[in-house]
């Protein structure tokens, strides 16, 4: 697929790039529960009809 040198950093697979980036992991690890747990849950609680 690519003629580039094997050791060229451009050849690092996407997945490895993700795993090698602690701050991207930090973002994902905070965003996932912030959206699917906190935001979703709070949204349901605040939309409970009053009485």
């Amino acid at each position: 697929m690519s003629d580039q040198d094997e050791t060229n950093s451009g050849d690092v697979p996407m997945m490895q790039k993700l795993l090698d980036n602690p701050f991207l992991l930090l973002f994902l690890g905070v965003a996932s529960p912030a959206v699917l747990y906190l935001a979703w849950g709070i949204m349901e609680i605040v939309t409970i009809p009053a009485r």
Binding site: L26, P33, Y37, G41, I42, I45
Partner: protein, 564 residues
């Protein structure tokens, strides 16, 4: 003070940065102190719930239960984890620790918060238990102490991330960070979410307790509190899984079966583990079934799958290493020839088995919305988490400590005979605690309950089956055994720090680390070491137990309501 003092460990070749080393020591010592304190309160709790002994008065019981929970679940764990984070960054990457001054500020805040919390709870006005559900109100300093502790721990996490940046900038390692460091990154990511959630929920609660906020919504409190309370236990899981990988590498020279698979499993923790917080809200009104099922089924099963991957690859990589080193006969020679008298190994293995069989299987059962109702808010819940947090995390941390004391403090472990038995005593006691609490819970005994005989409630009665009383008595006996094992650990470690033979700069007589298994060793005999039949058999036993137990619970559920 220079920021660049390094020492090379004569036993492991690891490079220790002076300030990082001191910080690891103080965090580890603080951890053990709070384990000792919290464990003692656990003894009082166990002896009170043993109906025939019934040690404490009701008011003292709830105070002591609060102290037990916070000291062991929060203080012991997080102090130890900060030490692990510094080890996995500064030591494993061979670089200086970022901003040791800030690390000390964080440590000081954690100590102040932890001590303050104990003092304020002991004064008796904050017996709100660990969850401190509103509208139950504690002393304002109770919330403030937890906030201080959390801020301190958050600083520790950022020192860890800063150290990763330094290692990368100064090129102290090549390629990707080691797997154990990657596990620590996972723990730190979860820690950041945990601590921020703790701040979101505790700050307004603090303001409410001093009268500045009128009301705290009860449902919202529970939701956000559990983002903190549940996730904090997932920091422990990520940390103790990293410890497992570290220990099989140290003791067997084992290479992970697949870096890719193990790292992907950690990524699934990062993405999904914290969503299982919803399993605490399964009977809460106000949040929908969609919300409950998405988070505790779809998302949680991905996290559980990640745990099963670790549970397979850790013993698997150990088996492969042992086979490569010649323990090839039969299914289990590799396991039989393991150093069972070395508490670092036995502790790690007990942690692995206990976490998987007792903690993992029951966790899935509790996480399923339908069968959760069988045991919700019963003693089954503390039974489950004593298997995960104590048998799993605490046992793994103890195992690592036996290895770290000579390396970090340059002191020999004292009372080696007792140390050999300690993991077994503690493990047996704690397995008993987990099983008997779950047994009592299955019989309907509520958790956080001073007296199942309903003394002093003015005529309220409920007859529990006699077996429930027996379970609580057996739990009391197991607590005594476990506390004996836990106390032995504290005595051995504190004794070693104070009186252990100084090791100086000379390597130890017995090597404490095994040379990594080489590719040639792995590839000898056509690479047969990579076939791991023993681990596969163990995994099959695990799946069979899992399926059976899961089925039994649905059967129980079916019998709860008669049809027709």
């Amino acid at each position: 003070m220079s920021n660049n003092i390094f020492r090379t460990c004569p036993d492991t070749g690891l490079k220790f940065h002076g300030p990082a080393e001191t910080l690891m020591k103080v965090n580890a010592v603080a951890a053990v102190v709070f384990l000792l304190v919290g464990g003692f309160y656990g003894l009082l709790v166990g002896l009170t719930r043993w109906q025939a002994v019934h040690l404490l008065e009701a008011s003292d019981f709830y105070m002591v239960l609060t102290l037990h929970g916070i000291n062991v679940l929060i203080f012991w764990m997080i102090f130890f984890e900060i030490a692990v984070l510094y080890f996995c960054s500064s030591v494993l990457l061979g670089c200086r620790l970022a901003t040791p001054k800030w690390a000390w500020v964080g440590f000081a805040l954690m100590v102040i918060g932890a001590v303050m919390n104990n003092v304020i709870v002991l004064q008796g006005s904050s017996s709100v238990m660990m969850t401190s559900y509103v509208p139950m109100e504690a002393h304002p300093l109770f919330y403030l102490s937890l906030i201080l502790f959390a801020v301190g721990a958050l600083i520790g996490c950022f020192v860890f991330f800063g150290t990763l940046v330094i290692a990368k900038a100064e090129k102290t390692y090549e390629g990707s960070v080691p797997l154990v460091t990657f596990g620590a990154i996972t723990a730190a990511v979860i820690a950041v979410f945990t601590i921020v959630s703790g701040a979101i929920v505790l700050l307004p609660t603090f303001l409410w307790s001093v009268g500045l906020v009128g009301e705290i919504d009860v449902l919202a409190y529970r939701l956000i509190w559990w983002a903190f309370g549940h996730s904090s236990q997932q920091i422990n899981v990520a940390a103790h899984v990293s410890v497992w990988y570290a220990i099989v590498a140290i003791l067997f020279g084992a290479k992970p079966l697949s870096e890719k698979v193990s790292r992907t499993a950690f990524l699934m923790y990062i993405l999904f583990l914290q969503l299982a917080s919803v399993h605490h809200l399964l009977v809460d009104p106000g949040v929908s079934s969609n919300f409950k099922m998405f988070n505790t089924s779809y998302a949680m099963y991905l996290a559980v799958m990640a745990s099963m991957v670790h549970g397979l690859t850790v013993p698997g990589s150990m088996e492969a290493a042992q086979r490569a080193r010649g323990h090839t006969a039969g299914l289990f020679t590799w396991l039989r020839k393991a150093p069972w008298g070395n508490p670092t190994f036995s502790g790690m293995f007990i942690s692995l088995v206990g976490f998987g069989f007792l903690g993992g299987i029951t966790g899935v059962v509790m996480g399923a919305e339908q069968i959760n109702i069988l045991v919700h808010n019963t003693l089954y819940v503390p039974g489950h988490f004593h298997a995960t947090v104590v048998l799993g995390s605490t046992m793994a941390f103890m195992a690592l400590t036996y290895w770290l004391v000579p390396i970090l403090f340059r002191r020999e472990i004292v009372m080696k005979g007792l140390a050999k038995w300690q993991p077994y005593i503690f493990g047996l006691g704690m397995s008993g605690v987990a099983l008997f609490l779950m047994g009592a819970g299955t019989l309907g005994v509520p958790r956080r309950h001073w007296d199942i005989g309903f003394a002093g409630t003015g005529g309220m009665t409920h007859e529990f089956p006699a077996a429930a009383y027996t379970m609580l008595a057996l739990n009391g006996l197991s607590v005594i055994l476990a506390v004996a094992g836990g106390a032995a650990f504290c005595v051995i470690i504190v004794g070693s720090l104070l009186f252990g033979k100084k090791l100086g700069d000379q390597p130890m007589a017995e090597p404490c680390i095994v040379a990594p298994v080489t590719d040639e060793e792995y590839n000898a005999n056509g690479g047969s070491a990579y076939a791991i039949p023993g681990t596969i058999v163990l995994a099959m036993i695990f799946f069979a137990s899992f399926a059976l137990y899961y089925f039994i619970n649905w059967k129980y559920l079916a019998e709860t309501w008669g049809i027709g």
